[in-house]
Amino acid sequence: MSEQLLKVRGLTVRFPMRREGLIGPRRWLTAVDAVDLEVAAGQSVGIVGESGCGKSTLARAILALVVPQGGTIEWRGQSMRLDDAAALKQMRRELQVVFQDPVGSLDPRMTIGESVAEALLALQGPQAPGAAATRVAASLREVGLDPALATRYPHELSGGQCQRAAIARAIVARPRLLVCDEAVSALDVSVQAQIVNLLDELRQRHGLALLFISHNLAVVRHLCDEVVVLYLGRVVERASREQIFAAPRHPYTRALLAAVPHPDPAQAARTGLVAMREVDAVPQSATAAVPGCAYLPRCPFAESNCRTQAPRLEDAGGGQLIACHRWRELPVAR
């Protein structure tokens, strides 16, 4: 049984919006709504969903970049609170991140060597002279970069090289869990494959756990053992890779998978929407306190129950969790 690294329970993150009128009640945008999540050592968990589903906000809350309004985050059994500086420092050493924009996530005024060195010094304290430079070079080599590139600035490197540098920075202090927030989405197709392979390698070599956030389902299928599907801040389905891609049960998961165009003209004719009624679930829905299921406006299987009662996550067997009132009745195969 591997150690449980991250345990999130009932996490809720809300952002204040403008009041209605001058003195009306303040409206809130609920970006993350009572989300549960676990990541064990060496495990790779994918979080998928479309814009407005809250996956980036979830990542930021886990990284202690935003303050949640509710719920708990436990790191290796210890409860994380933003005011516990010592515990936070320990967590930061072991929980690192790679962001979406490869060039933007590096300080343009620092060479990539300096950026990696900064991470090393911040997370592991002052180093003996020469030792730091050696470790930075080793980290760069590990991500497939020539250590001579350490003196270059981000704008002198390609997107793929910058992302490798960002990964080098993230792993230099040997973290146990790496959060990847759309880490390959901004890369060229041919480079994406390289970075995905790199992440996989690092995972296997160091037993690194991954929390991989992406809207690209094919990449998630390749990289992740377990998949969590978010919709408007709520978990609608959670299952192993095999279960989700072979037998998705939640109507949204099915719609999502059906909408992905296959790079195959013969099949492409079959790509289409699985009867989606209303096209745009605008994030504004996340502001009203929706009593029923968040997916209601777009769900072809909705019934009266769905309007009044929010579905809870139920175990459909084999560890597959679904939040849908009608999951038992819906046909299983895609």
């Binding site: 202690a64 930061r92 991140v97 060479t111 060597g113 300096e114 991470a119 730091a132 930075v136």
Partner: protein, 294 residues
């Protein structure tokens, strides 16, 4: 402390070396820098080269105000009081430069620290800090300077304090705007996830990234300061006799423009050249300090 800052473990101040290299490649900026250096040297050496002292009245001349001539070593001519203009112009340049540089330095240091902190920390601290700026902005500036002069007497130091005390306000606003934008960038979020404390993030990530704008604005401030200082001098609040400044000389020379045009010519040419050169240099510095332009 060796081994404790990223720059020291990786290279020897690599960024500035890079900036120097870029600046050297910009011919207009290099020419401007040369001009500024020459003017500074002239300002320092000019009064030493001339046989005349700053306030020496040359009674041998008739009339007292006489045009430039080589024989009696009045190379720029003399002013209405018979004092040598060559010496006065270069002494005035010294004073103008000193006032401008010190006042700008004061406004940069205070403005950047204030603005970067307010912009990065945000929230209520930002609110309070910028309200202070707003209130100070609203104060009648001249009134403020007059009160200071009355309380502390007229002195050169007072002038730069007064100018600097107001100059930092706009700098703070500009830097705060930049800091707000920078705060959203992913590399700042990355720094937060490293567990760096706020003051380190401000010093290491925010300030260096606003330097480009700060430099450009500072070089725009210098001519403004020189002009403002001459206005003060004109009102009798600034540089006092026998010290003089470029602005003061230009103001005096303008009065005698029709009868003794040389009195206006020398200080104006020096002032205009100085301001032009500073502007070109400022542009060059901005390009050099912004890595993306390389």
């Amino acid at each position: 402390m060796a081994g404790s800052t990223p720059a020291s473990v990786m290279t020897d101040g690599g960024l500035w070396a890079d900036a120097r290299r870029r600046l050297r490649g910009n011919r207009a900026a290099v020419a401007a820098a040369v001009v500024v250096v020459l003017l500074v040297l002239a300002a320092l050496l000019g009064p030493l080269v001339s046989p005349y002292a700053l306030d020496h009245v040359d009674w041998t001349l008739s009339p007292l105000a006489s045009p430039p001539s080589l024989e009696d070593a009045h190379w720029f001519g003399t002013d209405s009081n018979g004092r040598d203009l060559f010496v006065r112009v270069w002494s005035g340049t010294q004073v103008s430069l000193l006032v401008a540089l010190l006042a700008t330095a004061v406004s940069v240091v205070i403005g950047v620290a204030w603005g970067a902190t307010a912009g990065y920390v945000g929230g209520r601290l930002d609110g309070w800090m910028m309200r202070v700026v707003d209130v100070l902005y609203a104060l009648p500036y001249m009134f403020f300077v007059i009160i200071l002069t009355v309380v502390f007497g007229r002195s050169l130091w007072l002038i730069f304090l007064a100018i600097g005390a107001v100059g930092w306000l706009t700098m703070a606003r500009i830097v705060r705007g930049q800091a707000l934008a920078l705060r959203q960038r992913e590399f700042v979020a990355a720094a937060v996830t490293l567990g760096l404390p706020a003051h380190q993030i401000i010093a290491r990530h925010i300030v260096p990234n606003v330097l480009g704008t700060v430099i450009v604005y500072a070089t725009l401030t210098v001519p403004q300061v020189i002009l403002f200082e001459s206005f003060l001098s004109f009102l009798g609040l600034g540089v006092q006799e026998p010290l003089t400044s470029l602005g003061r000389l230009v103001a005096e020379g303008a009065l005698e423009m029709e009868t003794a045009p040389w009195q206006l010519l020398a200080p104006s040419v020096v002032l205009a050249t100085l301001l032009l050169a500073l502007n070109f240099l400022g542009d060059g510095l901005r390009d050099a300090l912004d890595p993306r332009q390389g």
